[in-house]
Amino acid sequence: MTPYRSVSGSITLKLEGSFSRADAVQLSLALNVIVRQGRVRTRFDLAGNVFTSVGGRSEHPEPGPGVIGFAQREITLVLPHEFSAGQALAQVVTAYRGESIASNWLSFAL
């Protein structure tokens, strides 16, 4: 999990893990990345959609760009402006054969 900050302050996050890009394509997996910081929870899908909820309330769409890259063992996404310096958590979730599959929560500093 590696965050990068642009000159303007936008945060890009690179996740490295054992997910398979080939499997995700073949099975059209509904893969989502969830990033949490405090009361903010944002969900990113592979189509570039971004949804944020605050304090457990319902999700609302964000403008994106969300996930900008999905390579072998690597996902790159851009966090919405609600995220700032400090600790955050991330998790990859999907469903396979009707069962939800989730990675561990990874803790990292923005």
């Binding site: 000159v7 890009t12 054992s18 990859v92 989730a102 990874l106």
Partner: protein, 716 residues
């Protein structure tokens, strides 16, 4: 990261040596049968019977070709969802490229449009008017899985796979080798002799370039599911296939990866097939698949890329560059790359108007061309082909200098590439180049080279391209390829692609594939730097010489281990190397002393990440070891070795020790493994902390989130 996803290594073997079964599918009616076994031969349509030679391995130089028998048509694939008809329709590709169905790269639900396909079982009764035969609704095939694989025409020559249409050693031939790697795969089930489904494609091209043409092929096994045959998951009869762009590997044990599981509509296939080596270049030609509809068993389609989301830096042959490595001396202090606009899946795309990428390099790295030198450079990308950019560091930049290159677009970081300067990346003046009049082959260069420039080295420059030869380095030469994506050596499977028997041989910047082993290093002090061993029949790198160094290399998809050290391979070092997706262990060290594995990435291997058997004073430190079947690190009978600072995650056991003694195991992270973080038995005197005194597990190691428990001990 995700254990659930990591274990979907469902694997398939097709066209493999079959078990004897009592009755064979109706698809074999009238086909030739092996008189020794009573089993129908497996043959690709239109090609002669090819059987293993004395080495008993198909796809090697001693294969036996029997031209008196030619494969008939059993299986046919068509683009689109078609109705079952008495006569199998001709390929859509025969109508012309404009008639081909168009898909979009990526999975459904994420901007992609998979390609629909229909597979027919053929009765093989062909004629000039019925080139694919009639539909065979064989009930014995109902429910049998078929795999559809898609291959991309990366060089745009209208063929999939190597051809002899152009001179040898061209860059196009490098792309033709890459074409043998499928860009999509799917499983579907027979019903009444017909299979319908869709295949999502990973790779596309922008519509402005006409998209990317892909070939659709299909293969299946016949016969019933037998409990004694791969646990009843794979049909036990002979295989059938459409035309394929390679001679499929036949050795079942080389194809079954991990735990076999039932083929179903939603199972993954890793790998789809491994192609076998071919005896010589002319023999490769029959396997090249034309995309014009002239091969009646296959079909074609077009795949476009999605909208551009970012930009990446690529090499001249299109490989994504993730790290920049420079030498402090010219010419290694510069690299020319291409800045390419790509979609979410990494495919080149048409950039929107004004798509500008800012390149921001930490000094002393600079973009030196075609732009003015400076800190940040704005590059407008207005075509999908991208823009060439040369990066460089000043001559004499200190060894070890590090920094990063950041790519920003619209105020967002879209890529970061670490760079560093390392004297090992320097490139001395060559004495000889290949191909040339004096040296048409690499072996000819090794045999004839002299130190013409008097620098004390025998340096051979290998131009980009494909070299089909088994090479013996029996003189202390230095081989410099144009990079692991640009200079490729393909062996004939009968021996190592590159065998080193002289001391102090160095090999830089090339890929070896299709050999028995990829590299065999039998002599002391050999160096592999920035090399790749890919899809060899045994180990990627096999070492028996002492003080060998493997640095910044890759060993992937080999049927044996990624790296194997044995016999006299003492005091070897393997560092900053990727050992991934091998059928054996990532690294296999047997009875060696003093060798070191440092800062490697070892993942996706089928038989442990690192295996240390009866080693002494070996160091395994700072490696990332993930997603391997078996233990991440396994020590059997190891003594006085040091296992330090490794991350071992999503393996079976994070660390497994048996009959070990006197080892230091400290500061490792063992997380999310499916069995124990640390499991050990029958050992004594191992120390699990760097602190003074002998400490028991876990000591200063961090063992967390392991499914069965953090530490398991028996008889220690």
């Amino acid at each position: 990261m995700n254990q659930g996803i990591g274990i979907w290594s469902v694997v398939v073997a097709l066209l493999c040596v079959p078990l004897h079964v009592e009755a064979f599918s109706a698809v074999f009616d009238g086909d030739p049968v092996n008189p020794a076994t009573g089993v129908p031969y497996e043959m690709l349509p239109g090609l002669p019977l090819i059987q293993p030679g004395p080495d008993d391995v198909l796809g090697t130089a001693d294969d036996v070709v029997d031209s008196s028998l030619v494969g008939d048509i059993d299986l046919v694939v068509r683009s689109g969802a078609l109705a079952a008809t008495v006569t199998i329709p001709p390929p859509t590709a025969a109508v012309g490229r404009g008639a081909l169905p168009i898909g979009v790269a990526g999975p459904r639900g994420a901007g992609g449009t998979p390609l629909a396909f229909t597979v027919f079982l053929s009765d093989g009764k062909t004629s000039s008017t019925v080139p694919s035969g009639g539909l065979l609704a064989a009930p014995d095939m109902d429910g049998i899985p078929v795999i559809v694989a898609a291959f991309a025409d990366l060089d745009g020559d209208g063929f999939i796979g190597p051809t002899d249409h152009r001179p040898t050693n061209s860059m196009e031939q490098v792309l033709e080798v890459r074409e043998l790697d499928p860009v999509g795969r799917a499983v579907a089930l027979f019903d009444g002799g017909v299979v319908r489904g869709s295949v999502a494609i990973r790779t596309g091209r922008p519509g402005s370039q006409g998209g990317l043409t892909v070939a659709l092929t299909a293969l299946a096994r016949t016969g019933p599911l037998a409990a004694g045959f791969f646990e009843g998951h794979i049909p036990a009869g002979p295989g059938i296939s459409t035309a394929q762009p390679f001679l499929p590997q036949s050795d079942l044990s080389r194809l079954i990866r991990g735990q076999p599981a039932a083929l179903a509509l939603d199972t993954t296939i890793q790998p789809v097939v491994q192609f076998a080596a071919v005896p010589d270049f002319s023999a490769a030609q029959p396997f090249a698949l034309p995309l014009d509809g002239s091969v009646s068993t296959i079909d074609a389609a077009v795949v476009n890329s999605q909208s551009v989301t970012r930009a990446v830096l690529r090499s001249a042959v299109g490989a994504v560059v993730k790290e920049l490595l420079f030498g402090p001396a010219a010419p290694a202090n510069r690299q020319q790359l291409v800045l390419v606009p790509v979609d979410r899946w990494g495919n080149p795309g048409d950039p929107p108007p004004g798509f500008t990428v800012t390149l921001r390099a930490d000094p002393p790295l600079q973009a030196v061309g075609p732009f003015e030198a400076g800190g940040a450079v704005d590059v407008e990308l207005d075509v999908a082909e991208g823009v060439p950019v040369t990066f460089g560091v000043p001559v004499h930049t200190p060894d070890g200098t590090r920094g990063s290159l950041t790519l920003e677009q619209a105020g967002v970081v879209v890529g970061v590439l670490p760079y560093r300067v390392d004297a090992r990346a320097n490139r001395p003046e060559p004495d000889l180049s290949v191909p040339s009049q004096q040296a048409p082959s690499i072996q000819a260069a090794i045999d004839s080279i002299s130190d013409s420039n008097g620098d004390g080295l025998l340096v051979i420059n290998l131009e980009p391209g494909l070299y089909r030869e088994n090479v013996l380095a029996n003189r202390p030469v230095v081989l410099y390829g144009a990079g692991m994506d640009s200079t490729i050596l393909q062996g004939d499977g009968s021996a190592s692609v590159l065998r080193v028997t002289a001391s102090n041989v160095a090999v830089h910047g090339l890929t070896v594939l299709g050999g028995m082993d990829g590299f065999t290093l039998d002599a002391p002090a050999a160096l592999l730097a920035q090399t790749r061993a890919w899809r060899n029949l045994q180990a990627g790198v096999s070492v028996s010489g002492s003080a060998v160094r493997v640095w910044h290399a890759e060993s992937a998809d080999n049927s044996g281990s990624g790296l194997r050290l044995s016999k006299e391979a003492n005091d070897a070092t393997c560092s900053e190397t990727r050992l991934v997706d091998n059928h054996g262990a990532g690294a296999d060290l047997v009875r060696v002393r003093g060798s070191r594995l440092e800062q490697n990435f070892i993942a996706g291997n089928d038989n442990r990440g690192v295996r240390l058997i009866s080693v002494n004073a070996v160091t395994v430190s700072d490696n990332q070891i993930a997603d391997n079947l078996g233990s991440g690190i396994e020590l059997i009978g190891a003594q006085n070795s040091r296992i330090l600072g490794n991350l071992s995650t999503t393996n079976n056991n994070g660390l497994y020790l048996r009959k070990t003694t006197g080892n230091l195991i400290s500061a490792n992270v063992l997380d999310l493994n499916s069995r124990y973080g640390i499991a050990m038995r029958d050992g004594s005197g191992d120390d699990f902390s760097a602190a003074p005194g002998l400490q028991a597990a876990p000591g200063d190691n961090r063992s967390t989130n392991n499914i069965r428990g953090e530490v398991f001990t028996r008889r220690n």
